[in-house]
Every structure is written in C-alpha cells, then in structure tokens.
C-alpha cells in the first residue's frame, strides 16, 4: 500500500486547524446560496437558441402571446345549456379580466357573434348580463353548433364542458413571481365560483397553470424528499456504524457538501428548477457512501486493536484510491450531462459533479480530523459477515457454468424488451395523477380531447396577402385536412371567420358560406369586422399587423413525442404539396417538448460514448491492464441494457430525464466493477487460482459493494416518491440500473472471469496472462 499524501496526514495530525479551515471555507462559499433563485417556467428546459423555442418566440412576437389560464366549467347536469351555468360563465368571464397580466378573455359569453340585420352587420356578445332564459339558451346552442370557431374549443362538442380562456402576457425572462401570482388569483376565482355554484366543478389548466405546477412540484420535492432523505441517512448510518459520533460526523460532511455545492452554484449565477432542486439529494447520497467507506474500515482496523489515530490512517490508505476513482468516474458521468440539450439537466450534472468531488475531499480530510478529535468507543463485533461473502463466492464459482448462459439469456431478453421503450415527452404527463393540474388535464382530455396544440403559421410575405382568395382557399384546404385527421380535435382558422363574414354580408345566405371572390372584398369585410371588435377580442392572435401571415391553431390528442413530430412533418409535407410557394412554420410548447426528447437522446448518446471512453481509459490506467479494462466495458454496459430492458417491460415511456440516467449511473456502475477487478487482479498477482481470487474478492469487497449499492438505491429510491415524473422516473431507473450493476458484478462477472481466465490458464498458464 502506498503512503498517504502529506496534506492528508496534516489533516489527521492537526485536526483543529483542518476543521477551522473547513469552517471558514464553508462560511465563505455557502453564502453564495443566498443568490440562488427559483425558476418555475417551462422555458428552463430549452436552450435560448433551441430551434423550436426560437420558432415559437418569433411567432409570439408576430402574433399575440398564447400563454393562458383556462377555466373548465363542468356542471353536474350533463349540459352547460342551462340558466345557472350561463350565469356562471358570464360572471366568471367578466372576472377573468382581472387576472394579473391578462390581455384577452374568451368564452361563449363574450364570443363576438356576427349576423345580418337589415343591411347591417351585427357584432354582439353571445351572452350578456341577464340573458339566462330558456329561449336565449336555445339560441346560443344553435349558434354554437353552427360556429366551428367555438364548437369544440369554448364548449365541448357534446356540450358538457364550457371553457373560459384567458390569454396572459408574461414578461420576458424569469416569470416565476408573476406565474405564482396569476395562479393564486385564478385559484381564488375558482374557489369563489365553486362556492357560489355548488352544482359545478371548476378546473384550472393552461400554460401558466402548468408553469405554476412546475414550481409547486419542485416545492413539494423540496418539502417531502429532503426530510425523507435525512430520515434515510440517519437509518443507514444507524444500521451501518452503530455510533452516534460517526453519525453526527457524517451528517456534518453531508450538510457541508450540500451547503458548499449550493453556495458555489449561487456564486456561479445558476438558479434552482424542478431538476436542480434535487441536487442536495444526490450529493447527500454520494457523500454518505464515501463517509461510510472510511468509517467502516476505520472500525474494522480499530477492532483489530489499532490505536484510533493509526486505524484512521490505515482506513485512509485502503480507501483513498477507490474513493477517488469512484468520485472521479461519477463526476465524469455527471459532467456528461453537459451534452444534454436541456440546460437545467446540464446544471444538475455540473452541480452534482462539484458536490461529488467535495464529498470525496471532505470525507478524506475533514471526516478523519473530526473522528480523531471526537471521543469514540469501539465495540467488538462478531465477524460473520466475511464468512457469508466467502460462501457466496464459493456458490458462484460452483455454478458458473449455469450462471453464464442464464446471464446471457437475461441480457438477450432485456435487449428485446428495451425495444419497447418509446420517447415520450408530454409535459402535462410529467405530473403524477395526484397533482391537481394533472387531474384538470385528465378532465380536459376526457371531455375536450387533449390540450396539445400546434400553431401553423402561413407567411405570404405580402401586405394583405392573407386576403388573397388563392391563399384563403389554401388555408381552407389546410383547415379541412387538419379537421379530417383522427388525432385533431379542433382547428381555429381564419378561413372559417371570413366565410362566415361573407355569409353575413349577404343577408346570412348559407350559399355564401365560402371564400369571397376577390381580395378587395375579403380585405374590406375583414376591416369592417375588425373595426367592430371590442378591446381584447381583436384578430391580432390570428393575423399579423401587415395581414401578411395567418396563424391556424390545431388542438390534438396528448400524443407521444414521435407521433407528435410525425404529425407535424405529415402536415408540412401535405401543405408543401398543396401550396408549394407558401412558407409554413409550426410551433408550440408541446412541439418544443416533443422535439427536445429526441434531441436530448441524440446528444446524450454522444455524451455517454465519450464518458465510456474516458472511464475505460481511467480503468485501464488504474488497473494497468488492457484485458481487464475491456472486461470492465462489458460489465459497465450490461447493467444499462438490463435497466432499460426492465423499464421497457414495465413502463416503456422514456422522457428527457431518463435519457440522462445512462451518463449519470455510468460512474456508479464503474465503481462496482473497479472495486471488484482491482481486488481480483491483486489476488491473481499474488499467484492465486481464478477460483481463489474470486472468493478473496468476495470476502474483501463484497460488503463494500453491497453497502454502497444499498445506500445509493435508498437515496435515489427517495426520488421515486416525487409526484413529478421526471424525478420519480429518473430515481426508479437509476435504482434499477445500480441494483443490476451489483448483480452483474457479483454473478456474471465472476462466472465470466472463470470462463475467460480458466481457458487461458489451461493453455498457457496463469502468471503470464496478467499484464502489468
């Protein structure tokens, strides 16, 4: 064993100075945490130059913004066509104008209905105050059924739900404060009307409510998961060390790692989000693993009769190399998240990587210093653990001929099932069924059929170009085509408006429900209509100021990423065939999420390959053996394969957080392999047979591997409690993969080594095979 470096010795010899230095360091860096702020909007998932985000933001600058709050009004009676509901809709529509930053409110109450009267064009609200009587209700029902702009958008097609939609103009940049304020106000309105109209259920959906739900999810995680993790640490330490002093020392290390990591993040100008709010949990998990290694070895040596100081030095000697290797490989894995297309996942990676290295540093310096100062008793404990692992080693060696084919079968089956996995980034489905937002989404899905929209913009690049009958016919064809697609529920299109105006201007003659003959007529009808609309109900959300571009909004099922992007390209291809000289863009937040999953997966594949190369290089250098380095590659890949196979068996839904799990777990998987192979190599170099070397490995590192896996599985297992699926899925898959890694290293790897090395030893002898 090599000697301890001087600075580590210094910590052990001058614990008081070391601790003072440590406290000063913590105090300085941790103050940075006060600069951390929280961002809850969905844009944190996208780089500023993300093409879909750019397309969407350009569209929002040209047309009015489409961030919204929707009130879903569901009467107990099966229809909204009743007096009470009309009163509710009318009053809530009026009140919704009071939502902070609202610029537009739409419902069947203030829908600007047009009809001909004598020679005039009448433009009027559908429901004005007091119009709640039966004849009026009947009239409204008829109007709604003949008006495609509202049927299926502001009232469900079967008439069981009405929607009040408020458009919100959020400021640029961090909007969390405004979002929370708006959502709170919306909930007040919801409560107020729920009380006044007990026969009605009111649900809140829309982009602003989703942004708020992101913030709430992060807050929930911080409030439930962080306490849960402290409970788990306490239990883990209690089980593994049976010492209050050790437990306290570990807690100090954990707390300081978290504080310094968050502090540095604050100084670096990072912010908290639904992803990075879990950095403390992850850092804690890895820090506990490091501390336990040091403490457990220290107690083993102390039990053998060494003095406290000596036992600590000895523990550091045996643990420094594996802890450093594990930390570096884990940090590399987390740093690979920088390849992610999702900026907050890159932040998560960087913050955790820093935390991992801090945990490594603190557990090798400050922890022994504290243990050295603290009064410690060393109870003598029976050592039946080692014999248990000895038996396990024998068991594996005896059955390696059976284990190997079974393992190969498991790997093959996993690979088959991993083909079941499907990219699926649907933002509304990130929220668990228990979240009120998700419940509202479900109601909306059941009654209105999905809330995923794609906005198609047709640019004519000509002033008043949208009124050209050729363009209008093409827009109308696109509208019809969209309406025919099975996944489309509603299409809002200007072509419907202009057809209706043409009819109104011709005494409501249904024969004139068609595109006007020429551009002048269309332009002038539109001018007349626009001049008749009140504040907040203009057509700026459909037509730009030059009348050169028109926006058509299609509402679809909440489809998976691939189906959603496939629909987008289907629509693009179809339109290019119909109108080759018109430029069409598609954009929307659901489309942004649909694309990000695929982009992220792509970039993460490169990240993972790079991580593999780096880590394998590290292992080859650490073990000084090409052969074992290549073996480690195999055992590093199989757990990921099994993990995704199991995932394909039970879920099959891959979201953006899962595409990063591979990089993230890489370091942890490698840790198991490195420990195993290092000890195996040591035994072989001492001249032991393959079988003896494997049994030696089991008895020396078996416990450490099982312990770290348990700690890590418990830590990431906590994430599965999150009601936010990005976090709970990430936790679940990580647990599956690290448990798979342990099983692979304790079953497959020894069996594989028996097969690999035995062949060679029979032909050429053992000693020559191990290269130095």
């Amino acid at each position: 064993m090599q000697k301890l470096p001087g600075w580590m010795k210094w910590c052990l010899h001058s614990p008081k100075f070391a601790i003072l230095l440590f406290i000063a360091l913590c105090a300085v860096t941790a103050t940075g945490a006060s600069q951390l702020y929280f961002r809850g909007d969905y844009k944190v998932f996208f780089e500023p130059d993300n093409p879909q985000r750019k397309a969407f933001e350009d569209m929002q600058n040209i047309f009015n913004k489409s961030e919204n709050v929707s009130f879903l009004v569901v009467p107990a009676a099966p229809t909204v066509y009743q007096s009470d509901t009309f009163r509710l809709i009318h009053e809530l529509t009026e009140d919704a104008w009071q939502l902070p930053l609202s610029t537009r409110v739409e419902s069947i109450s203030n829908y600007q209905h047009t009809y001909a009267e004598a020679d005039d064009l009448v433009v009027t609200d559908l429901i004005t105050s007091g119009q709640y009587g039966r004849p009026h209700i009947q009239w409204v029902r008829e109007v709604v059924q003949s008006t495609p702009e509202i049927d299926g958008r502001l009232v469900s097609r079967n008439g069981e739900v009405a929607v009040i939609n408020a458009t919100i103009q959020l400021p640029d940049g961090d909007q969390t404060k405004e979002v929370i304020e708006i959502a709170d106000y919306a909930r007040q309105l919801q409560d107020k009307y729920q009380q006044q109209f007990p026969d009605h259920a009111i649900y809140l959906t829309g982009m602003v409510i989703m942004n708020d739900a992101f913030a709430v999810a992060a807050q929930d995680d911080a409030q439930t998961l962080i306490p849960a993790m402290f409970v788990v640490i306490t239990i883990m330490i209690a089980l593994l060390t049976r010492s209050i002093v050790a437990a306290l020392a570990t807690l100090v290390i954990v707390a300081s790692c978290i504080a310094v990591t968050m502090g540095l993040a604050g100084w670096a100008g990072l912010f908290l989000s639904t992803a990075t709010v879990n950095v403390p949990t992850m850092v804690m998990t890895l820090a506990v693993a490091d501390c336990i290694h040091v403490i457990v070895s220290f107690r083993q040596f102390a039990r053998q009769g060494m003095a406290k100081h000596e036992a600590l030095a000895e523990s550091l000697k045996v643990n420094t190399k594996p802890i450093v290797i594990t930390s570096v490989t884990t940090a590399i894995g987390f740093l690979m998240l920088n390849f992610s297309a999702v900026p907050i996942l890159a932040d998560l990676g960087n913050m955790t990587a820093v935390g991992v290295m801090l945990a490594c540093l603190f557990s090798l310096t400050v922890l022994p210093a504290m243990l050295n100062l603290a009064p410690l008793r060393v109870p003598g404990a029976p050592k039946h653990n080692a014999s248990r692992y000895h038996k396990a080693g024998e068991w594996v060696c005896q059955r390696h001929r059976r284990i190997l084919p079974v393992s190969l079968l498991v790997v093959a089956v996993s690979l088959v099932f991993s083909a079941n996995n499907e990219l699926n980034d649907i933002a509304v489905k990130y929220f668990g069924e228990s979240s009120t937002f998700r419940q509202a989404v479900n109601v909306q899905e059941d009654t209105m059929g999905g809330m995923s929209n794609i906005d198609f913009v047709i640019y004519t690049d000509q002033e008043y170009g949208v009124n050209d009958p050729t363009v209008l016919h093409q827009v109308d064809e696109l509208t019809n085509w969209l309406n025919q697609q099975p996944e489309v529920h509603h299409v809002t299109s200007f072509s419907d408006t202009i057809k209706r105006l043409n009819m109104n201007m011709n005494n409501d003659d249904p024969d004139y429900y068609r595109i006007p003959e020429n551009k002048e007529i269309a332009s002038q009808y539109l001018l007349l209509y626009e001049m008749s609309l009140p504040y907040g109900l203009d057509l700026n959300n459909q037509i730009d100021i030059n009348k050169s571009a028109v926006r058509i909004v299609a509402v679809l099922d909440n489809l998976g990423s691939n189906e959603f992007t496939a629909f987008e390209s289907r629509a693009r291809t179809w339109f290019a065939g119909v109108a080759p000289d018109l430029r069409m863009e598609a954009a929307s937040p659901p489309l942004m999420f649909a694309h990000i999953g695929a982009r992220n997966m792509q970039s993460m594949v490169w990240g993972t390959i790079l991580a593999l190369v780096l880590i394998s290089g590290l292992i080859i250098i650490a073990l000084r053996s090409w052969r074992l380095g290549l073996v480690s590659l195999l055992t590093n890949l199989i757990p990921a394969g099994i993990g995704f196979g199991v995932w394909g068996m039970f879920s099959g839904q891959i979201n953006m957080a899962l595409s990063v799990v591979l990089s993230m777990t890489m370091g942890i998987i490698v840790d198991d392999t490195v420990h195993f192979l290092a000890k195996y190599q040591l035994a072989r170099q001492q001249g032991q047979s393959v079988r003896d070397a494997i049994i030696y490995t089991f008895t020396t590192v078996g416990q450490a591997l099982v312990t770290t896996t348990l700690v890590l599985a418990a830590g990431f297992g906590i994430l599965t409690l999150s009601s936010f699926r990005l976090n709970s899925d990430m936790g679940a898959l990580t647990v599956i993969i690290i448990v798979a890694a342990l099983v692979v290293d304790l079953l497959f790897l020894p069996a594989f080594l028996m097969w690999l090395d035995k062949d060679k030893s029979q032909s050429r002898g053992t000693q020559n095979e191990i290269r130095e």
């Binding site: 009015n64 064009l121 201007m505 609309l533």
Partner: protein, 267 residues
C-alpha cells in the same frame, strides 16, 4: 398642561376629518376646471382637413403603414363628427369611415366598403376596440368632451421643461376599455402632452405622447395641433405612430358633408 394637549389632539383630529374630504373635493373641482378650460381653449376651430400616416409596429420589429385623410367638423352642443378615407393599403383604399362622437350616449359609426358599394353601420360597443388594428382605440380618436370623464387633480409638475397639470380622468361609459387615464396638460396652452392609460384591471396599458405641436390661427384665436402622436402598448410591446402630413382649417365643410350619402361620395 396635559388637558390642553389632549384638547389640541381632539382639534387636530377634527380638522383632519373635515379637511380630508375638502381636499378631495378640491381635487375633483380643480380637475373639472382644468378639463373645462382645456375644452374652452379648443373650441371655435369649426372644421379641418388633414392627411395622416399611421405606422404600426410589433415587438418583432415588423411595420405596417396606413395613409388616410380625415375631415372633421366641430359640433357646439355635441361631440365632433369625422370622416376618414383610407388611401392605403391598396386593398382597402377608398374605404370611408364616418363617426359621430357623443358626449353621453354611445358614438355612431358607419363604414363604406367600395368593393361591394355598401354602407354598413358598426356596432357601438366597440369603442374600446382597436382602430385599424392599431394601438389607438376608437375612444382615443374621438373628440374630447368634458362630460365623458370624472376628474381628479393630482399635482403640478414639469414635463419637458414646461409647467404642467397632472390629473386623472375616469371614463363614465361602461364600455370604455379603461379604468382611468392620467393626463399631463401644459399650463401655458392647456395642450395634452402625455396620457397614460390603465386597463380595466387597473394595470398600466399604454402611453400616448403628443409631439411637434403647431399653432393655427382662426379668427384671431390660437389652436394647437400635435403633428406626431406616439402610442406605446406596455403589455404587448406594440406601438403606433400617427403623423400629420398636412392640416388645413376653414375648408367650408358643413353637416351635409358628414352623412351617409357623403360617405358614398368620399374618395
């Protein structure tokens, strides 16, 4: 001594209770006085013809322009009448818009569509709506009448180096798109220099600035007209600039030039 100071306190309270409403009363009266003076300074111009360019901009930097001619007729007992003819964009050229603004009732509006050669009446509830998809609402374009608002004098201040009155005016019409406006009126000529508009939920919505005031002398009286108005919508980042290219008074217009028949004749 103690008794005296307690008595003083009672007097002080009483004085405050009385003085509070009195101050408020004064602010209302003072505001009304300023509004009346503003109207008085601007009456007697009779009629005018102007040619104007309206430039719309959105937050993406796109621009759209509209050319128009506006004939106006001052009415002594009622709001003014105006006839606007659009010269561009080409597809709406020749479209004419006639409006009778009223002090207390809803305004009346008609539009002539040359493509179908018909005059259509426009709903009167749209006064909050945008004029020609600009940031100007109909109610921002119609003539100022004292009765349209209640007032509240706020303070005296300086605006671009000139002494101004700053006051609030609250629209009386339930169909107005505003909860209130804050106006800056210069003390020398009672010209409106700036207006801040607040939407129905009380949030700042738009700012209107009047620039390049030029005076016209009619029958020995000075009338000031802004040759550039700039409306900026804080909520959407959109803006509209209204520039006067030419303005002539005493064009010999009368009421017969402002009826449905004249609308058809307008070119």
């Amino acid at each position: 001594m103690k008794f005296v100071s307690r008595l003083n306190l009672v007097w002080l309270c009483a004085a405050m209770i009385i003085a509070g409403p009195v101050a408020a009363q004064n602010a209302v009266e003072q505001g009304l006085t300023i509004a009346k003076e503003r109207k008085a300074r601007d009456s007697g111009w009779n009629n005018s013809v102007a040619s104007m360019t309206m430039t719309l901009r959105n937050s993406q930097g796109q621009e759209a322009t509209r050319e128009m001619r506006v004939s106006s007729l001052e009415m002594q007992q009622d709001g003014d009448k105006a006839l606007t003819v659009f010269d561009s964009p080409r597809d709406v050229a020749g479209t004419a818009f006639l409006s009778f603004s009223h002090a207390m009732e809803a305004d009346e509006q008609w539009i002539y569509l040359p493509a179908v050669k018909r005059v259509k009446r426009i709903a009167s509830r749209n006064k909050s709506g945008p004029f020609m998809s600009s940031e100007f609402a109909f109610e921002d374009m119609t003539s100022f009448e004292v009765e349209k608002f209640t007032y509240n004098f706020l303070r005296e201040d300086k605006y671009e180096g000139e002494k101004v009155f700053v006051m609030e005016q609250m629209p009386q019409d339930e169909f107005s798109g505003y909860s209130k406006q804050i106006v800056w009126i210069d003390q020398a000529h009672y010209r409106v220099r700036k207006v801040e508009f607040f939407d129905r939920k009380g949030d700042a919505l738009k700012t209107l600035e009047f620039e390049d005031y030029q005076s016209h002398e009619i029958d020995g009286k000075q009338f000031w007209r802004p040759y550039r108005s700039f409306m900026y919508n804080q909520q959407t980042g959109k803006s509209t600039e209204l520039k006067t290219n030419s303005l002539e008074f005493e064009q010999g217009l009368d009421e017969s030039d402002f009826d449905k028949n004249s609308l058809r004749r307008a070119r």
